[in-house]
């Protein structure tokens, strides 16, 4: 699955809102790109018209109360103004250091958390305000795969019931036979033998448990699956099996994946587009190849420069090594949040928050596909990388 020429991959417009000018992302015009709120028809039916994003997040903000102290008024700014889109059938990778808000973003996208402001729209419907049947349909259409395959499965349920639970909730299987047949089908889909359905989670290895987690997510025939660190808990030799499985399933079923991970190599491998997060905001967003080969944001460059070398002969390569840790999201820096660690920061960076824009130096061939939130996006950093 070479990300560059995936047939279901998004068009150039998907880096920014379709139909708007290619220079900004996150303006209200993003809403006009998606269908109106009164779209009818089942959400799990055909893909929307080409180019229209399936999932649209606008101005997402989420804060949590920090600390345990009574009356503590400080808040963690977990996600602070994120705009992004996910097209049908594409994989959007999300990378960033721990605490950057990746997991909160995942939970917002599937509706497990309500944003403080901003909204998530799925096929034109506001995920936050949908009620009744609509709400259940949204729940069906957007599913999640969790990091830890052990704790995300009920240890006292046989696999049959684990996988069938979403079928029961959404009344998708009538009668015990149909239920069992559907579970068998799902298990086969993820590469497990159907006769394993009588066993319990502890009888499976880590990789098999994650397959069960994926089968469960697929039970409702979702259009979007948000995977939060799906392979981080797995052994190296097993990670690749699960990564390949997700890629295969995507091609077969045409689902969109949001793939959140801290492993930059795995994200590069599975993603069509990649979003780089720093302290609750997007630093850069664009096609995986562009972001990885020609990063525009100094944070993206530093992040990629931290990836261990592939071979000892590369040890001497020049790279930006970030000093220290990310600042606390309780009291994030002013202006550009990266300015406290940035090797090219100027005065303006502490004062003004940079907008997500197409970097000036981007070649026409990629222009419009990639955006970065940096006053000096694309400016070479000395010492330059490689």
């Amino acid at each position: 699955m070479p990300p560059s020429d995936h047939p279901a991959g998004p068009g150039p417009a998907s880096a920014g809102p379709a139909g708007s000018t290619p220079t900004t992302v996150g303006t209200p015009t993003v809403l006009s790109a998606s269908a109106g709120p009164n779209t009818s028809g089942p959400l799990t039916a055909d893909a929307p018209t080409t180019g229209e994003p399936l999932l649209v997040a606008t101005g997402l903000r989420k804060t949590y109360r920090a600390g345990r102290g009574l009356g503590s008024s400080s808040r963690v700014h977990a996600v602070d103004g994120v705009d992004l889109t996910v097209a049908a059938g594409e994989t959007l990778g999300v990378v960033g250091e721990s605490g950057c808000g990746k997991s909160t973003l995942a939970r917002l996208l599937v509706g497990l958390e309500r944003p403080d402001s901003g909204q998530v729209r799925f096929a034109g419907l506001d995920v936050g305000t949908a009620r009744g049947t609509r709400r259940r349909e949204l729940r069906r259409a957007v599913q999640m795969v969790f990091q830890d395959p052990v704790t995300s499965l009920n240890p006292r349920m046989p696999i049959l019931d684990v996988v069938a639970e979403p079928l029961d909730v959404h009344k998708l299987a009538r009668g015990a036979v149909a239920r069992r047949d559907r579970v068998a089908e799902l298990l086969e889909m993820v590469g497990l033998a159907p006769d394993m359905m009588r066993r319990f989670p502890h009888e499976f290895s880590g990789g098999q448990r994650q397959r069960i987690g994926i089968a469960r997510a697929l039970a409702t025939e979702p259009r979007v699956v948000v995977c939060d660190e799906p392979v981080s808990a797995l052994d190296v030799s097993v990670q690749a099996q699960v990564v390949n499985l997700l890629a295969e399933l995507q091609q077969r079923l045409g689902i969109a994946l949001v793939f959140i991970a801290h492993d930059l190599g795995v994200v590069r491998h599975v993603s069509h587009r990649v979003a780089v997060m720093y302290l609750g905001r997007l630093a850069e967003l664009g096609p995986a190849g562009t972001v990885y080969q020609d990063p525009a944001h100094p944070y993206t460059r530093a992040l990629l420069g931290s990836v261990p070398v592939r071979h000892p002969r590369e040890r001497g390569r020049e790279r930006i090594v970030l000093a220290g840790d990310p600042p606390s999201p309780v009291d994030p820096p002013s202006g550009c949040r990266f300015h406290t660690r940035c090797p090219i920061a100027q005065d303006i960076c502490a004062r003004e928050t940079p907008a997500l824009l197409v970097p000036e130096g981007d070649a026409p061939s990629v222009a419009g596909e990639r955006v970065a939130a940096c006053h000096f996006a694309g400016t070479p950093v000395t010492p330059g990388r490689e």
Binding site: E97, G206, S237, Y292, P308, D325
Partner: protein, 344 residues
């Protein structure tokens, strides 16, 4: 793996005794469900100032090996045996637990993966670091705290004189890992064992920690046994690599040799299953199946059910680890010679 000690690569430390020499280490756990051969026949050689990366997946026996060397395995239900264990000239082969205890901290030290649970939450960092000096050197509280601040400076913690008063929860994950490393190197050990020291950390912080370990081994001339499952960490810092599978070392060599021409099919398969940032390929080539259950190891070579080179012989006869043509290289595979020459 015979030439590690005599390797001339690190000539400045040639006069120092080897940091570690282990021969034929076996560790066996006895539990309700049976006898677990956690470690079998492990040999290790680490010269002063050298970094040996012990590479393997969970359950391969890497951490148990480290704890056995440190004498940290609880005697109940565990049998540790070796033909020889020498740490920086101290023969521990037949040493009693008290003798081993005395070497911990001063001669050999261990850095754990989980820095938060390895630190005492109710003691300030200065007290915890200073304890080392109070106990081993009989320093006063004030002098010990000053030494502690010096250590924090050594491992790159900003404003060390102020931060010695802080408590573990006031530090980030990367800083806590630095503090653990500071604690481990406090008394200038000859052998530092680091068990997955960067696994819980972000890549940006991992890069800092690996740089720190690399700097300290040069400055202090320590031998380092670094345990990881991450090939990138090995490529980044290792002089030599030992690959473990199902309790045994299956391959050894310099890091370049092992990455360029893995002699064991397991190592080769691991290399293929990791996505390459530089060449995002079509599909990853995973290793089929999962790591074996030590309670029911496959016959012959433990890797044969997952191996693409397995032949009849592999299912029957367990391959002994043997020296290969290149000095210092060894592999436990009937087909090691074919494997080395095959493209990765």
């Amino acid at each position: 793996m015979t030439s590690g000690v005599t390797s001339s690569r690190r000539s400045p430390d040639a006069d120092l005794p080897a940091a570690l020499r282990v021969r034929d280490l076996d560790v066996t756990f006895t539990g309700r469900r049976g006898t677990v051969p956690a470690v079998r026949g492990v040999d290790l050689d680490i010269a002063a100032g050298e970094v040996l990366v012990l590479l393997g997946e969970s359950g391969s026996g890497k951490s148990v090996t480290a704890r056995a060397v440190m004498g940290l395995l609880d005697p109940g239900g565990v049998q540790v045996r070796s033909a020889q264990t020498v740490v920086a000239g101290h023969d521990l082969t037949a040493a009693d637990p008290e003798q081993v205890r005395k070497l911990r901290g001063k001669t050999m030290a261990l850095v754990f993966q989980d820095a938060l649970s390895a630190l005492n939450p109710v003691l300030s960092i200065g007290d915890q670091l200073g304890e080392v000096f109070r106990i081993h050197r009989g320093l006063s509280r004030r002098a010990a705290r000053a030494e502690a601040a010096e250590l924090l400076r050594l491992v790159g913690i900003p404003a060390p004189d102020r931060r010695v008063r802080d408590y573990p929860h006031q530090f980030s994950g990367g800083m806590r890992q630095r503090i653990l490393i500071a604690m481990a190197v406090a008394l200038g050990p000859r052998l530092l064992i680091a068990d997955e020291p960067t696994t819980a950390l972000d890549v940006t912080v991992q890069a800092q920690i690996l740089q720190l370990v690399d700097r300290l081994r040069t400055e202090l001339g320590m031998g380092v046994l670094l345990i990881t499952h991450d090939l990138g960490v090995a490529a980044e810092i290792a002089d030599r690599v030992a690959v473990m599978y199902a309790g045994r070392i299956v391959e050894t060599g310099t890091v370049a040799e092992v990455l360029d021409g893995p002699a064991h099919p397991y190592t080769a398969a691991l290399l293929r299953s990791v996505p390459d940032l530089a060449q995002p390929g079509d599909r990853l080539r995973p290793i089929p199946g999962s790591p074996p259950n030590l309670l029911a190891l496959p016959s012959g070579c433990a890797f044969h059910p997952r191996c693409d080179r397995a032949t009849e012989e592999c299912t029957v006869t367990r391959p002994q680890r043997r020296a290969l043509a290149v000095p210092g290289r060894s592999a436990a595979c009937h087909h090691a010679e074919e494997a080395v020459d095959a493209p990765v």
